[in-house]
Symmetry: C2
Subunit: 261 residues, 2 copies
Amino acid sequence: MGTVGKALDLLDIFTRLRPQAGLSEIARLTGQNKATCHRLLTEMEARGLVEQVGPTREYRLGPAVLRLAYLREAAVPTRDAAMPVLQSLARATGETAHLSHLVGGVLHTLAFAYSVQHGVKVTMDDADILPFHATASGAAVLAWLPEVEVDRILSGPLPARARSANRTVADVRAAIGHVRARGWAETLSTFERDVQGMAVPLFDAQGACIGALAVAAAAPRMTPDLHTRIVAELTRAGAEINALWGGQVPPDLQTLWRHAA
Amino acid sequence: MGTVGKALDLLDIFTRLRPQAGLSEIARLTGQNKATCHRLLTEMEARGLVEQVGPTREYRLGPAVLRLAYLREAAVPTRDAAMPVLQSLARATGETAHLSHLVGGVLHTLAFAYSVQHGVKVTMDDADILPFHATASGAAVLAWLPEVEVDRILSGPLPARARSANRTVADVRAAIGHVRARGWAETLSTFERDVQGMAVPLFDAQGACIGALAVAAAAPRMTPDLHTRIVAELTRAGAEINALWGGQVPPDLQTLWRHAA
DNA sequence: GTGTGTCGGTTCATTATGTGAACCATTGGT
DNA sequence: ACCAATGGTTCACATAATGAACCGACACAC
């Protein structure tokens, strides 16, 4: 792996639960040498990608990332464009809608919208990581990813949540076939108890799968009627976001969605 | 310079006017070898920091920067915290208020707020770069930056705008003294014609200057009365944002601001 | 006080990694 | 058919990354 990759890997240790970390801690978490970490962090600090804070000299993400994000949204307004669709999807279904993005082999929450209809709702957070093995979004993405990518992802370590749900790689592979034939993915009480997730894939201009649009419903209030309504709204919204993003939906999937709506 | 620094420098070529660029163009703009650029870009693409788009294979900022920005704002909500103050400053003065951040020796717009009072207003954009030599924000930052930093910045090339305004390094150095003695910076029709800017510095928890809060007023409607109102509101808002951010304002500056308000 | 464990940061011999001129294969214009 | 771009690749070479050992500072235990 190149030096730049190592440096960028250091950024992944920052999460919502661990917003900052000391030098030794970072070295321990990444398995890199302390001196190496120090050099890489110093170099990133000079560009504002990370910054040191307080007398403990802990590192955290720096202000430069904000600037880059503004420029990205100005150049390609994925979030701004999708937000209205996401909100109308949440309103139409009465449940939580969310959008996830595939970046570097990991599925991240890009945006979400709640419905005001029910007091009990599935809650989310921006930048959360979604496990492939146990979410509808993950299944939707896997189903339309090239075989080699799927292999690479499934050969990785199974996250704790997937193991506890007794989902093996074979289970996931079997599910992929169903998902592809149906045009959307569904999971029941796997990612979280009492959450029913349904998702459709999103594509880029070259027809490569780059993420998923999903509805996360509170399982106790699911009915056959609500289920069909969600499928209809989800496929419609999926087609809409793909159109807004300039995504190229495979023709067979397009017809599946047309029949679902 | 290290490899990581070179890689991150490549990101700086993306601006609002040039949201994407081809490989050869990037190599030309950065002065790096084409093969080097390609390797660095490929490595950054693997982490989603940049992405390639369309049949031209041009590069642009990738989706990973959004995730990093969410995590940054979640960890240290600079923008969210400052936004209300910025809006009330714009409302109280009837002019445009904006906030800039010093990152990697460059002053970037972090946020801004317009007043609805007048149809003619000074307009801004997120992530814009402010020249030190010809803005109130730049002067405010220079006035409270360590001498060595000031030297480093002023020894750099003068931007075209500063030259056209006939402002030399000596001019700027002289101005710094006045700014420091007064507690706030002011420029008249320098950054843009018919724009009067006034700014106060912002500090981090260690008392280091990290940015500026400014009001950009339409010069034609400036009156002595408005001028004193802006100074009062600006210093009050400056103290407030420094408090919100946990910034340590130098004691002598605190007293200057108290007398101005 | 004196050990013992951290911490952030630095040094420097070793070597892995990055470098870049020259090279393809394509594309688009003349 | 030619030329001048483009994005991307190769490989001998040299620069830049590496990491065990080190430092001084701090905090806690005894």
